[in-house]
Symmetry: C2
Subunit: 435 residues, 2 copies
Amino acid sequence: MPADLPKLVTALARRARAASLVLATASTDQKNAALTRLAVLLDSRIPASTNALLAANARDLAAAKKNKLTSAQIDRLTLTPPRIAQMAEGVRQVAALPDPVGEELERTVRPNGLEIRKVRVPIGVIGIIYEARPNVTIDCAVLCLKSGNAAILRGGTESFHTNRMLVEIIHQAIADTPLSTLDVRLSTSAVQLIPTTDRAALTTLLKLDSLVHCIIPRGGESLIRFVAENSTIPVIKHFKGVCFVYVDQDADPAMAERIVVNAKVQRPGVCNAAEQLLVHGAVAGTLLPRLARALLEKKVELRCDQASAAILKKHQLAHRSAKTADYTTEFLDLILAVRVTPSLEDAIATINRDSSAHTDAIVTRDTAAAQRFLAGVDSAVVLWNASTRFNDGFEFGLGAEIGISTDRLHARGPMGLRELCSYKYVVTGSGQVRG
Amino acid sequence: MPADLPKLVTALARRARAASLVLATASTDQKNAALTRLAVLLDSRIPASTNALLAANARDLAAAKKNKLTSAQIDRLTLTPPRIAQMAEGVRQVAALPDPVGEELERTVRPNGLEIRKVRVPIGVIGIIYEARPNVTIDCAVLCLKSGNAAILRGGTESFHTNRMLVEIIHQAIADTPLSTLDVRLSTSAVQLIPTTDRAALTTLLKLDSLVHCIIPRGGESLIRFVAENSTIPVIKHFKGVCFVYVDQDADPAMAERIVVNAKVQRPGVCNAAEQLLVHGAVAGTLLPRLARALLEKKVELRCDQASAAILKKHQLAHRSAKTADYTTEFLDLILAVRVTPSLEDAIATINRDSSAHTDAIVTRDTAAAQRFLAGVDSAVVLWNASTRFNDGFEFGLGAEIGISTDRLHARGPMGLRELCSYKYVVTGSGQVRG
């Protein structure tokens, strides 16, 4: 088998490409019929597929326990009937979203009479490389189907049997979908799972740039870096979220407290949680103790620069000295690095140097300061008087999210169905030739 | 020097990054002032820079003659006062284009009152890797400046001295540009030339993904492939243009002749020239001889499949037998591969398999057939009753073009100033936190 791996992955990608060409011109109704059928199959009212799924998941869970995964890892891996029902609900929500394909983005008529339309179309074949969570299998397959893209999924070893069963259920849903009015049948090759977690299969996939058009890695930084370094296919990614809140000299103190605490503690393990606090020197003496008290009450560890440490020491508030690495660290925990900054300009420069260009916020009542911050901070999402936690596809009204990009090409910030699309130019003439 | 090359290139990229942050918030007026000054310096009314440029070019030309470059290569390399004036005119045209930066792409107000604006911003730092032509140096620098991006240029060995002098003149123009109303000075590091054509410098550059945000390679397929395979930075590219014209059974014969001839012969050496002709079997017997006569009159060599060869043989029209490779070849010459196709569906499938997804056209009076072709052919630009030669930034009304992309992410088809931009989300709140 390993000797044939490149051949096997290439054949799979060829099938995906063929399926993508059919899917690209499928009607919204036909795609939604497949999604609706999938939701029904996942629903616990169909015990056959639920039971098969729970059995497959039990195999993965047994292996996980044997391999001594942490309880958090095992929890992420575990499927239960309510969690399966939640998956089904997610599928129904995507079915209800507007179809991005076919939307006219621009239209011009040139002096020579040529009509030029820029129309949204699927990207084609998308490879999604992810780690443990089995719900990613359904989320990604469904978002790709809805946006007319074929999906090649490569999940983690831990959820291998669960993923295989999920893809079988997706295939069942596609096979159950009626023909379109043009007698077109969707192909089950529209969603395929790479049937091994051998790294060689991944390495082969990442070089198939004539068949696969986009790679989306989801997971830890080392996986994402491996993919970015080995892919000749364009990759959309985000490495990490080192997000800042800057409290300006003209910040409303109560609002600053509310936003800093929310950005740090509401869900510290996610990429849009704040990891870094900057406070303007003119107000640090009065405001920082208030912020620190509120954070300490929520069990946040404060890692301070000299200036902020001196203020907290004076007020006998607990803190530690920050190391240089803390200023660029994604803690994903109840830890916050704290610095005093002499000016707005310094805050902007600090953020542009130390943040991961993911999500950065200013708290201020000063409109001019806010405008300079929003223009000058070169990050995917910049916020004025709001928590960093709002950088999210659902909060932005996209209805769904396949990830958050810190790249600058194609998609930046939360990625929904539209960001899974490309466009093409459709030109209509009446015999024009170029002179 | 070679030992220090990675350090040198990294330092250069760091300067570019710093310059890009200033340039990103520069006003349209300030950017246009720099461009207008550059046009003046390039204008022959300033003999100092023209003479310096001609002297630098003479050094490259002497080397080119010594290295026995072809006369076509030497011609492409040669600068003359009229060619320099033409460069200046191109710079003025870009200055006159609307600034893409700051344009609001979307705006929503969420139920919680958050205002979310999607705003066009520069990408950041763009690396442009190209070969001989010195005019690319000016074109790319100017398009990057106008769109607020810092440019790192890596030209070919043949035009090294010319490029160096061109970048000196660009630096002069930037240095001559007045301060903005905010006392901001544009940095000459906004446009930098890698001071060596050593491959090691290029390899270093292609890995600087924390400083450089996009790579645009321009040139032959092998250069582009080298860049795509070695870059961890996103690359926007097109490998080649294997463009098709499909003449449907319901094509207007005179229009088919006009479009096929124009697509093939009007400028055969460019990527949007047709290389492939498909003719529907129902009309090949009558239409193909007419098309062949018109093409033969223009000295086009026809490389035919069996069916088309039989028809041309019957009419005693010159042709050769095609080899399989001809059906996917970019000839860039007066050569056309010719096939008879049994149906519209077969034509679409053939194009999706054999074309480079660059530019493909149908000639037909049948609206339904045209709609199926335009939807089913998965190429950057699809045309109905118009020549493939129209896939061009100027013809599309973009005003300028940095290249044509056959990628599907970020930009597809002709790329102008807008395609040199990313976007960011600017969120304005009144203290919102996430519950």
